[in-house]
């Protein structure tokens, strides 16, 4: 199921994500994915999220595919050079994986193997170019392929970045390089998001707004201090602070944000980060 086509057909596309475990016990992750069956259009599988070594995205994408769930294969440029990245794209295709999300990847020093060598041989733009080349039956060196793959290529953008202009310039480059859909960094300010969507209207590419569930006021404050391009307004922090039932409040806020931004964009990407089990409740609350 091709995310870009779904959006083109006018469907409000819903995606969520699962994070492969650190180890080989995959039961909980698969249970989480199972809860999303029929509720989301596709499930992103993160790639060594936060530079922490885990089970691989490609293997988990295939497991989801076997269960009849639609995966989005997240690929970062941090851990593989152009040979491995291109090879994994070919592997993804033969394993039946269509949706691929191109990311730069966090810096190695922020993860659990800070002594590792960061690769970044390609970047989030040139990885898209590489995938397009493969689709044309060639690799990045111009060598001919025996059979060519095809993908639905996605990329990411941070609508709350300050200044925004460098992000917009890079987003345009990603579209030029072949991005067919975008999933965004977490957004908590619909007014700012509206301005962002106006600024990228001319690109004519589906945008799935990023929703990260707030678990507490402390988490919101932490993100405001530490996460680039994410700003939780005081009003939401206060709401979380005063909530009697924080879980309920978190679900309510996520659903409200989705509904406020639904008229502005083509879908929503829900990043539950540990609260995957709550995703169906968010969708219930949002009436989706």
């Amino acid at each position: 199921m091709n995310i870009a086509n779904l959006a083109k057909d006018g469907k409000f596309v819903i995606t969520a994500e699962v994070g492969p475990p650190k180890g080989v016990d995959i039961k909980e992750m698969l249970d989480d994915a199972e809860l999303m069956r029929g509720r989301v259009d596709a499930i992103n599988v993160t790639d060594q999220q936060s530079s922490v070594m885990r089970l691989g995205s490609l293997a988990v994408c295939r497991l989801l595919k076997e269960k009849g769930l639609e995966p989005v294969f997240q690929m970062t440029c941090r851990d593989r050079n152009r040979i491995a990245l291109q090879s994994d794209l070919l592997s993804a295709y033969v394993l039946g994986i269509e949706n691929v999300l191109s990311l730069t990847g966090d810096f190695v020093a922020l993860g659990d193997h800070p002594k590792a060598k960061g690769v970044f041989d390609l970047d989030s733009v040139s990885l898209l170019l590489a995938a397009k080349e493969l689709e044309q039956g060639r690799d990045l060196s111009g060598n001919e392929l025996k059979g060519s793959p095809s993908f639905c290529l996605g990329a990411v953008v941070t609508p709350g970045a300050e200044p925004l202009e460098p992000q917009l310039i890079k987003m345009e480059k990603k579209v030029k390089a072949g991005a067919q859909f975008f999933q965004t960094q977490a957004v908590y300010e619909p007014e700012k998001f509206e301005m962002f969507m106006k600024a990228v209207q001319h690109l004519n590419v589906p945008v799935l707004v990023g929703i990260v569930m707030l678990r507490s006021a402390a988490m919101a404050r932490f993100m405001n201090r530490n996460v680039a391009g994410v700003h939780v307004p005081d009003s939401l922090i206060e709401e979380m602070d005063q909530a009697k039932n924080r879980t309920q409040k978190s679900i309510e806020i996520a659903a409200r944000l989705i509904n406020e931004m639904k008229p502005l964009c083509q879908g929503a990407h829900i990043m539950a980060i540990g609260w995957e089990k709550r995703v169906p409740e968010v969708l219930d609350a949002a009436g989706l």
Binding site: T104, L110, S126, K176
Partner: protein, 230 residues
């Protein structure tokens, strides 16, 4: 000693597109020794560019572009010509180009590629570094090297990790290289350069060439190093 080679003339001419008045900077240090940016080469370049229809508003060959004080002195003497110039062509290693970009608010173009000698850095006392990548990108980035200024060496724009212009890796002390590049290009009216998609680097150019290891200079430097460690 930093080894450089001149970029092909068509590449240099293309980088000067739309600019008429050019100021040329050379260096009496490594660039002169490499025959890429000494007095002779600067004069040759002047003639070639004039043939291409450019007006060379002035040139200078600095003693050592990697010495901050000397850069300022040698450029100060040509303040007027530099002000009249649309851009500056710097015929040196990547440090010389970045040093010039650091001290003058003008568009700066590299005329050379810096060849890897395994980590030589010149005498530059500043935070600018040259990666010796063999295919200089400073023309696209306002004279700030994305390979050394960006923690991830990204060449196509910033990642999502910059906050208040600082890199998420060391937010207290490290600027986001792409934020610096963005601000500089904006100041120079060259933001369109950020929209150009840069092809993946040719990493084979980042290795010291085999024939370089056979030169007298290489042997001399090895010897100097050995003496120094004793």
């Amino acid at each position: 000693m930093i080894i450089s080679e001149q970029k092909p003339l068509p590449e240099i001419v293309k980088s000067l597109e739309g600019e008429q008045n050019i100021f040329i900077v050379g260096c009496k240090g490594c660039a002169e020794a490499c025959h890429t940016g000494g007095e002779t080469e600067v004069q040759e370049m002047k003639a070639k560019l004039e043939e291409e229809g450019k007006k060379i508003v002035g040139c200078t060959v600095a003693d050592f572009l990697c010495d901050k004080a000397l850069v300022k002195f040698s450029l100060k003497a040509h303040e007027k010509e530099i002000n009249d110039a649309d851009s500056i062509l710097v015929m040196t290693c990547g440090i010389g180009v970045q040093a010039t970009a650091k001290v003058v608010d003008k568009i700066v173009h590299p005329a050379c590629n810096t060849i890897n000698t395994g980590g030589a850095r010149g005498e530059w006392r500043g935070e600018e570094r040259c990666f010796e990548c063999g295919e200089c990108l400073l023309d696209y980035t306002g004279g700030i090297c994305p390979l050394t200024a960006c923690t991830k060496s990204l060449i196509n724009g910033p990642c999502g990790g910059a906050k208040n212009g600082m890199c998420e890796f060391e937010p207290e002390t490290r600027d986001c290289g792409w934020h610096l590049i963005y601000e500089k290009l904006k100041k120079l009216g060259q933001l369109d350069k950020m929209s150009i998609i840069i092809s993946p680097k040719d990493h084979s150019k980042m290795r010291p060439p085999a024939d370089m290891r056979k030169t007298i200079l290489w042997a001399l430097e090895r010897e100097e190093e050995e003496v120094a460690t004793k």
